[in-house]
Symmetry: C2
């Protein structure tokens, strides 16, 4: 099948927020995350094929703007994403993201899309993919610390892929916990709103931390964490932004990362020495290193989000819109008959409207 959704000369398919929401709604969030886990596994198994680099980050007083490029030699993906927790006070979103997928042979864009919803899905799928291997056997209870934009996706992913049946919610903002509980009311999950972190983590097999503040915080103290569990720490993803007490990392049996050079800069491990031992996840997926050796092991995923996960999500979306057709077509690339005659596009400009709804 062609890499292209449309022949390159017909324009660039664009997936709007509305189109994304409709497609994912119809597909089902749990099914989508489960299928994304399969796709992520296929791509992490061919880790060496990706041209990898730490993301580009432009930090400012209240936020960060990032570019996350990656290529597998066939296709090139890049996500533009910001993180501005202060935006919630301005009635704006914390994250505005867009993605581009391109054909390496021609350099032509294949797809342009909103990427806020898609990022939530791929992040939940990455967490579920890790938990599938790193959570203790028969894990049933998830503590979810931080009940913002990611929380429902995280809960549903852990249900669909790991089989958890109870979610214990905690957030400094209790209305956020209530929002998450309301959204999960029909999910089949037993949802418990907790007043303290201690209450939330009581009996949890998996603890997910996904808070948004851009600072070094201690969302989980050492005393909160017992042996034998899996911590999915995904909120710390910038220099100066961490969630875990460093002592938890020090006594963990495994600290797993995506792409070590980026995680050293952005992850929880930025608190520790550059020699602190970590394991890149692809080694676990390939069976080169075990995820855990005993029921008592404390295993931590220090997740920051890596470009190859966006690559996987963009290719997944490309295939999805082939079936569902929910896209517009952008007139983004000049189409003069003679490629060397770019000037003719301006000289003989046509006023024909070229936007089309597919």
């Amino acid at each position: 099948m062609s890499k292209f959704i449309l022949p390159p000369k017909e324009g660039v398919p664009f997936v709007s927020v509305q189109a994304m929401a409709k497609m994912i709604h119809d597909y089902g969030v749990e099914q989508c995350i489960a299928d994304l886990v399969d796709a992520l596994e296929q791509d992490f198994l061919r880790w060496e094929q990706f041209e990898k680099s730490s993301r580009f980050a432009s930090h400012s007083k209240d936020g960060v703007i990032e570019l996350m490029p990656v290529s597998d030699g066939e296709m090139f993906a890049c996500k533009y994403v910001n993180g501005h927790p202060i935006n919630t006070k301005r009635d704006l979103q914390t994250v505005a993201a867009m993605g581009i997928l391109s054909d390496v042979d021609t350099g032509y864009p294949i797809l342009l899309t909103e990427m806020c919803i898609l990022t939530a899905l791929r992040t939940a799928a990455t967490s579920a993919m890790l938990a599938k291997r790193c959570a203790p056997k028969g894990a049933k209870t998830l503590a979810l610390i931080g009940n913002g934009a990611q929380s429902e996706f995280q809960a549903l992913g852990m249900k669909a892929v790991v089989g958890i049946s109870e979610v214990r919610l905690y957030d400094v903002d209790s209305t956020a916990s209530q929002k998450t509980a309301d959204n999960l009311a029909d999910s089949g999950l037993n949802v418990v709103i907790c007043r303290t972190v201690e209450d939330a983590v009581a009996g949890a097999d998996i603890i997910t931390t996904c808070t948004a503040d851009k600072k070094n915080a201690t969302i989980l103290r050492d005393g909160n964490v017992k042996k034998g569990i899996f911590i999915n720490a995904i909120g710390g993803d910038c220099p100066g932004k961490t969630e875990l007490d460093g002592n938890i990392l020090m006594r963990a049996d495994r600290v797993i990362v995506e792409f070590e050079p980026q995680s050293r800069i952005e992850g929880e491990i930025q608190q520790l020495s550059p020699e602190f031992p970590v394991i890149e996840f692809h080694h676990i997926l390939k069976g080169e290193v075990s995820a855990r050796e005993s029921d008592d092991d404390l295993v931590i995923f220090d997740g920051v989000g890596f470009a190859s996960e966006d690559f996987t999500a963009l290719v997944f979306l490309r295939d999805l819109i082939r079936e569902q057709g929910e896209y517009e077509v952008l007139d983004m690339i000049t189409q003069q008959a003679d490629p060397k005659n770019l000037y003719s596009v301006v000289k003989d400009h046509s006023v024909t409207p070229t936007i089309a709804i597919a």
Copy 2:
């Protein structure tokens, strides 16, 4: 005036190829380049305010895909651009480019646009800005070696800003020269098609090389170049892609670059030792270094294209579409009432079409 074209919640303005072509046609190519020179000068004068980095480049067998990010602390710009000379054999364009301009305070995109036409304009403006200072006094004759997509814009920029009256064209593909001559027939320029490089450069005050092949070529041999002229060498812009005989650089009185770290990798000077002396253009603009000291000086601009030039062009475009209104609106950012309730966008998805033509 607000940085935003539209209030952030109304969507992201998008400028299509057709919209760009119409606006630039109505504005006039020469006027546009002249005004871009003014804007570029303002931005090069505040060079220190930009957060600068060499562009990200993903090279493949037949081409390159690049990202060019830059920020001035108020706005962030990034261009996606490829270079695939082989595409002309596939009836596709060599370059497909798009640009994004964002607000640093919120991380929200202000503008998304085609950037193939805009790049040709900003490249011609950058060349003209350099020639305005570096060409010999009273320069009237331009030799244009390489008559592809950039050539008309280069010729018109040198006419509007430097006052040249004759263009001498040379290309290994004579149909390309004929195309350029046809496009410039009504420009007021005296256009001469030449059969050899030697013929083209005879009597030229300015030589512009803008060829596309991704290889180390010798478009200009040492014997082609006399003293006292200005060479605007802009085609060599990748590792392994150069145009000038290294001896020409060695005997030049000045070799001027945009951003030295990037030019060391990509420019003509990649042929020479890392210690070969170059001057960043902003020093000349600020009067810290003279562009030339005598009529006999040989001055070379080793131009590779820098992200701040795209920044300038994107801000120029933002102001232009405020006046001309030629844009569509993309539904690119989620707009749920509670920023923490991203899940609601999928759960309660609306099927209301949100694309609008402004």
